[in-house]
Amino acid sequence: MQETFVIAHMYPDLMNLYGDRGNLLCLQQRIRGYGHRCEIRSLGLEDQLDFSELDMIFMGGGSDREQGLVYHDLLHKAETLRQEIDNGLPALCICGAYQLLGRYYQAPDGTMLQGLGFFDLYTEGRAPRLIGNILLESAVAGEKISVVGFENHGGRTYLHDPDLKPFGTVIKGHGNNGEDGGEGLWYKNLIGTYLHGPLLPKNPAIADYFIQTMAARRGLTLTGTLDDTIEHFAHQQVKNKILPK
């Protein structure tokens, strides 16, 4: 039985830096590869969110100005969104979208941008920007995996609540703040991260984690495997670059 998974692309016009749409292309193609359909629904400012129709939400990064616009729009939806995340809605939030989940973002000039306050984390913008290829260790379904990507952020994010778990441990690169060795946030089925490049194509295990979670929430089990030769090659190529032999 073919199912149609619906992924909401939040604010594609405003939050779409650094090839983030590659994450959606990846999810869409892989869902097709598993024999199902995938619809990407673009949601802009003032569009209504009907969570009963959504399997996942995706939001990318934007500049400070755009982040402000998005914050005001999201405030109206914050309560139900938070509830859905608590109920296990898969969500991928990159860069600026990740920062928005916290209490605040303080720009380098001292300007405060309020966050949604879903999590007890906060971000402080400082020079220099943390830029470069990054390698993490993470785990999907108890299995250790490596994650590769590119980070480029001035914000230092601190997970203030000690119960919050990062998305991964930094092997090489900066991560949340360049200090505590953590990168991103993993809460239930939400991943917040600074990794772009984009994240999912070179890390098919993470893409499949989202797809399997979406399927499980519909009571389905995915069958078959995809040919990930190119994915693994690209992953390994970056890894070799980061960790020269």
Binding site: D13, N16, L17, Y18, G19, D20, R21, G22, L25, C26, Q29, S63, R65, R129, I131, G132, N133, F150, N152, H196, G197, P198, P201, K202, D227, T229, I230, E231, H232, F233, A234, H235, Q236, Q237, V238, N240, K241
Partner: protein, 470 residues
């Protein structure tokens, strides 16, 4: 004449010779050395230019456009100092002047034609009394630092303000629409009227989709390419400025034909971005009062240079070398493939050195999906360079058949494979730091094949399936 100046020129010239002997391009180092010996060297030498000092800047097309303007000067019998091959920082420009100066410090040229990196425009204006500034376009380029483009444009405006500098601007680029007002400089505009290649919607890069004056989303009547087109702001009424030089009746089949203010022109260059380069160069020629027939002859003679769609013949097949460095440039190169009816193989070398941009995520912002269209007639894609895996993934997720994708990270082997497998033509795309090596490889292959004899088959290339190619 200052002794230090003579010494700086002498040492600079010596450094040019030595860096050539050492096999370098010899573009920045001699200038840097001479500037250390005699810091005002550029101001002094540029002061000797007889007529105009022209700066050419912008994200894409500045090298091609300035080469075309140099071609117009050549045809006109005018002499010019011209920094070539993308040596567009202060040091490279200083080197160009040292080359053009004799040992006694005399530098007598009609024009100076200075291709200038956007970030170097303010610095150059401090040292050189430029008369004219030509801006090609402002596109998203180096993605390593965001917010950079707005900042750069701001700095250019501040540096130009209050100077007796005349601007030649692109009327179709909304990011240039407030430069005249912000600087108070006299400004003229070039741009295209409606063309048959225009699109009414665009899925392209987002730069400049918002009004520079009030921040409102712009409405477009038509797109020529990327954010270049006919636009207006529904909030403040900002719209395309009036054109002084209008590109009309554009045709690409695939060579370019167009008219500029009724002057008919044709060129073997291809692609809309090159039509813009021709329009910009011709507008500059007309502005300088150069005879229309001279300009016409110069345009016919324009020959693409390294990587700006350079044509080779290898084993009897046309092979085109194309430099790509950002989503807009890549989109344009791929759109050009649609106009070429030959069955082709495509080679794409993606590097991630500093000069390429360390962040290669820009390939996901480009419409690589164009490659999958049947009119593109791409039989196979060979992915190469330091990030061959990433370009292969991009093609795969664009929907290109993975069975027709192969990975050969080594340039030499990859190009050989692309040429050998090409039914009719090969397109060799590469990022900046792979360009010179790719060009050398193609020159050598062209020489070996003598244009006609069949090539020796390359050794079977390693495929992705075997993995581990580094």
């Amino acid at each position: 004449m200052s002794l230090r100046l003579i010494m700086a020129i002498f040492v600079g010239k010596l450094a040019i010779v030595f860096s050539r002997l050492a096999g370098n391009q010899g573009t920045d180092f001699p200038g840097r050395l001479a500037r250390r010996i005699y810091p005002p060297i550029l101001t002094v030498l540029a002061g000797q230019v007889k007529k105009e000092i022209i700066m050419v800047t912008g994200t894409n097309g500045k090298t091609t456009t300035s080469n075309m303007i140099a071609g117009i000067f050549r045809e006109n019998g005018s002499t010019c100092v011209h920094n070539r091959a993308g040596a567009n920082m202060l040091t490279g420009i200083t080197t160009a002047f040292i080359k053009a100066t004799n040992l006694s410090g005399r530098c007598s040229f009609d024009y100076a034609l200075l291709e200038t990196d956007e970030a170097n425009v303010p610095l150059l204006l401090q040292e050189v009394q430029a008369n004219l500034l030509l801006v090609t376009n402002f596109f998203r380029d180096q993605l390593d630092r965001y917010g950079e483009l707005d900042h750069t444009i701001q700095l250019i405006k501040q540096a130009a303000a209050g100077r007796s500098l005349e601007l030649l601007l692109n009327a179709d680029d909304p990011l240039q629409s407030d430069i005249a007002a912000c600087t108070g400089c006299q400004s003229r505009y070039y741009g295209f009227e409606d063309t048959i290649y225009d699109e009414l919607t665009s899925a392209d890069s987002r730069e400049g989709r918002y009004c520079v004056q009030c921040g409102q989303a712009l409405l477009y009547e038509r797109y020529h390419y990327a954010q270049l087109g006919q636009y207006h702001c529904p909030q403040c009424g900002n719209r395309n400025p009036c054109r002084d030089y209008t590109g009309q009746q554009l045709e690409m089949d695939p060579g370019i034909r167009l008219q500029v203010n009724d002057l008919p022109l044709q060129s073997s260059y291809q692609g809309f971005y090159n039509a813009y380069n021709i329009l910009a160069a011709v507008s500059m020629g007309l502005r300088l009062g150069i005879d229309a027939e001279v300009i016409q002859r110069a345009v016919v003679n324009f020959q693409p240079r390294a990587g700006r769609l350079e044509r080779f013949t290898i084993a009897g097949k046309p092979c085109l070398l194309v430099l790509v460095k950002n989503p807009t440039g890549l989109n344009q190169s791929l759109s050009m493939l649609l106009l070429d009816p030959t069955q082709k193989s495509l080679f794409f070398a993606l590097n991630d050195n500093a000069a390429d941009g360390r962040d290669i995520s820009w390939i996901w912002d480009a419409d690589v999906e164009i490659m999958t269209r049947s009119e593109a007639r791409i039989q196979q894609i060979i992915c190469s360079g330091q990030r061959s895996g990433d370009i292969a993934l991009r093609c795969k997720y664009a929907g290109f058949d993975p069975d027709k994708l192969s990975i050969e990270s080594r340039l030499q082997e990859g190009i050989a494979l692309a040429v050998a497998q090409a039914e009719e033509a090969a397109y060799i795309l590469c990022t900046y730091t792979a360009l010179f090596e790719c060009r050398q490889i193609m020159l050598k292959m062209q020489k070996q094949s003598d244009g006609t004899s069949p090539l020796v088959q390359p050794s079977p290339a390693r495929q992705a399936q075997e993995g581990g190619v580094q």
